[in-house]
């Protein structure tokens, strides 16, 4: 039994430092489902569907890694470590982010060299890694974080997310990447996370205009 088992799951009906990230996890899982299909195609016909593979890589690089992991690595994790120095789960998550980047690099190289076998291998490895990683964050780390953060710290984190999503990424980039993720899902007959109203609310909760 994990030490987080007695804590309630992240509340997706409330905008918070962790629910925003859990909402983004649903989109990343949707993209992983697409990636799994691309890996199967690459294995089956020994050819990479290049356009879609590049779109998936753009979403993984900019949305999953730069925006989502950026929020974790530069905002949430440092806050948790400031509350509890040496907080163990964070170190595990950071190591898995590094592993994930290696898989992304391998996929990019495989697309450039049209190496279908290498692409499928890297894609499959990435899918397995990220699915487990997301489960650990949602089921353990974020529950612990909800227990650790005060309302003031939560609000501070949300304001910092706004800076990443709008100032660093640029207005409209977040929505453009979500749109690509949804178009890919539609193409490969995968359910869109954004069709869940709670998830849609979380994905659009951080507005650059700072109203509401």
């Amino acid at each position: 039994m994990s030490c987080s088992d007695h804590l309630p799951p992240v509340d997706l009906a409330r905008v918070s430092a962790t629910s925003i990230l859990s909402g983004e996890h649903r989109v990343i899982l949707q993209v992983l489902d697409v990636l799994e299909k691309l890996a199967a195609i690459a294995t089956g016909i020994q050819h990479i569907p290049t356009d879609h593979a590049n779109q998936v890589l753009e979403v993984l690089t900019k949305f999953a890694d730069r925006c989502h992991h950026g929020k974790e690595e530069t905002i949430l994790f440092p806050m948790l470590e400031s509350i509890q120095p040496g907080f163990g789960p964070v170190q595990v998550m950071l190591a898995e982010h590094v592993d994930g980047r290696a898989f992304i690099s391998a996929m990019k190289e495989a697309v450039v060299t049209n190496d279908a076998a290498r692409y499928a291998q890297a894609a499959t490895g990435y899918v397995e890694l990220l699915r487990q990683h997301i489960a650990k964050e949602d089921d353990i780390l974020f529950r612990l974080a909800d227990h650790m953060l005060t309302p003031a710290q939560d609000a501070e984190i949300l304001e910092a997310y706004r800076r990443i999503e709008h100032d660093d990424m640029g207005d409209g980039t977040h929505e453009r990447l979500l749109g690509i993720a949804d178009t890919l899902a539609t193409t490969y007959h995968i359910p869109r996370a954004s069709d869940n109203p709670q998830i849609m609310d979380l994905l659009t909760a951080i507005c650059g205009c700072k109203k509401g």
Binding site: D171, H174, L178, G179, I180, T183, T204, G208, G212
Partner: protein, 95 residues
């Protein structure tokens, strides 16, 4: 694999912006929620249903007052309306 038209990719992104604008500005601009619903409908129109696409293009224009943001509108609204104008121009016409 068929190619997705550009307007489909644009409207998929604008769906998120429309939802955000409706959530933030809906209390003072009730049409924003209706606009978000129209965008949702357009996202899922079948490729062959050009009549519905044309009608939704006209509806978007009506709901946005010819794609003109209201006075004092934020950057998100300007971005949304500009994007919808581009999409509407790319939609089939049934005049």
């Amino acid at each position: 694999m068929t190619t997705t038209p550009d307007w489909r990719e644009q409207i998929a992104a604008l769906r998120f912006l429309a939802h955000k604008v409706a959530r933030v500005h809906g209390p003072t601009h009730p049409d924003a929620a209706i606009l978000a619903e129209a965008v949702n409908t357009l996202v899922d129109t079948p490729a062959a249903d050009t009549t519905a696409q044309a009608a939704l293009g006209r509806r978007l224009s009506e709901l946005t007052g010819g794609f003109r943001p209201w006075t004092g509108a934020c950057a998100s609204v300007h971005q949304l309306f500009a994007g919808l104008k581009t999409v509407a121009a790319a939609l089939p016409r049934h005049d």
